[in-house]
């Protein structure tokens, strides 16, 4: 029931809940949460949870032929990682290199999925057939890298 007037004589009655719902719609449209807020919060929680360190990030955007290629360097006190993000048909592909990262496990979280691989002996890794979306890379301490004492997480990036 929305606005109903009581047969023309009585006072008008209103459905407060329905009107609050109209207000809710207005606020949802005119003052929505900032883009990416939920994802940023997930990253913050993960950093807190792993007692992890957050990488510093440095991004370069270039072109290879027709294709747009982004190279991002992540650095932390214990690790330097460089990745190149490119399009692979409908998918995204990440080619990466970890400084002295031979054998290190690599975890990429995208939306609700986790993709895992391991760096080869030269520290290179490839993650392909990835969906597009907001992603973060996570590196956990591993016997392959005894100097690394805590997990390191990248900020969320669009791939």
């Amino acid at each position: 029931m929305s606005a109903t007037d009581g047969g023309g004589t009585g006072p008008a009655t209103f459905d407060d809940d329905a009107d609050l719902r109209v207000l809710r719609g207005m606020w949802e449209r005119l003052d929505p949460p900032p883009t990416g807020l939920s994802t940023r919060i997930c990253v913050a929680l993960q950093v807190e949870e792993l007692e992890a360190e957050l990488f510093e990030m440095d991004e370069l955007v270039g072109a290879r032929g027709e294709e747009r290629v982004r190279t991002i360097t992540f650095s932390s006190t214990s690790l330097v990682v460089m990745i190149t993000i490119s399009d692979d048909g409908p998918h995204a592909r990440v080619d990466g290199w970890i400084d002295e990262g031979g054998g290190l496990p690599v975890e990429l979280r995208i939306e609700d999925d986790v993709h895992r691989t391991e760096a080869d002996e030269h520290g290179r890794f490839v993650l392909d057939r990835l969906p597009h979306g907001m992603a973060q890379l996570v590196f956990h301490p591993s016997p392959a890298r005894p100097t690394m004492r805590q997990s390191v997480v990248t900020p969320a990036i669009q791939i």
Partner: protein
Amino acid sequence: MADAVTAAGREAERRVWTDAAADFAAYRTGDRDGLDRLVHRLTPVLWHVVRAYGLDAATAEDVVQSTWLALMRNADRVSDPQAVGRWLTVTARREAWRVAKQASRIDPADEEQLDVRPDTAEEPEAAAVRQARDQALWQAVAALPERCQRLLRVLAFVDRPSYTELSAELGMPVGGIGPTRGRCLDKLRAMLAGMDWRTA
């Protein structure tokens, strides 16, 4: 038909809270993704609750984030997963209220930031009509007393909020909240009289 639409809306709102309880229960039993799902589900609600206190966007974002960090640190103390929605909204309101009182970080530029965000999935004409309606509604709300603005925005997003705390924040007895809500809505309706503001 309007009744059916309203009922569906009400049902969807209720489902958010039951889904949130399920996410949290999953997280508590070791499904880490449950927490991310919960964050995506309830962050928009927390955003609106926090913005009800007139905080600027950057401060509101900080308050929402610290609410989630508090949940993670205190997850064991939320005994009943069903209560997680209430725990989060009460924590967010408490923190927003504390920050708002401490520094008056009310954003004076708010009204001018409005006219962006086009709605993509809509016919341009319908979108224009709706935008005009939203703007009129926004301005009418902005002309209400501050405590009306806060009360209405919290009530619009939170299913049965804690009246005890609302009463402390608004400086009125618990028994006064129901009638105040009615008076605030009446003022709004009076301002919008003659305008077809309810059609979505």
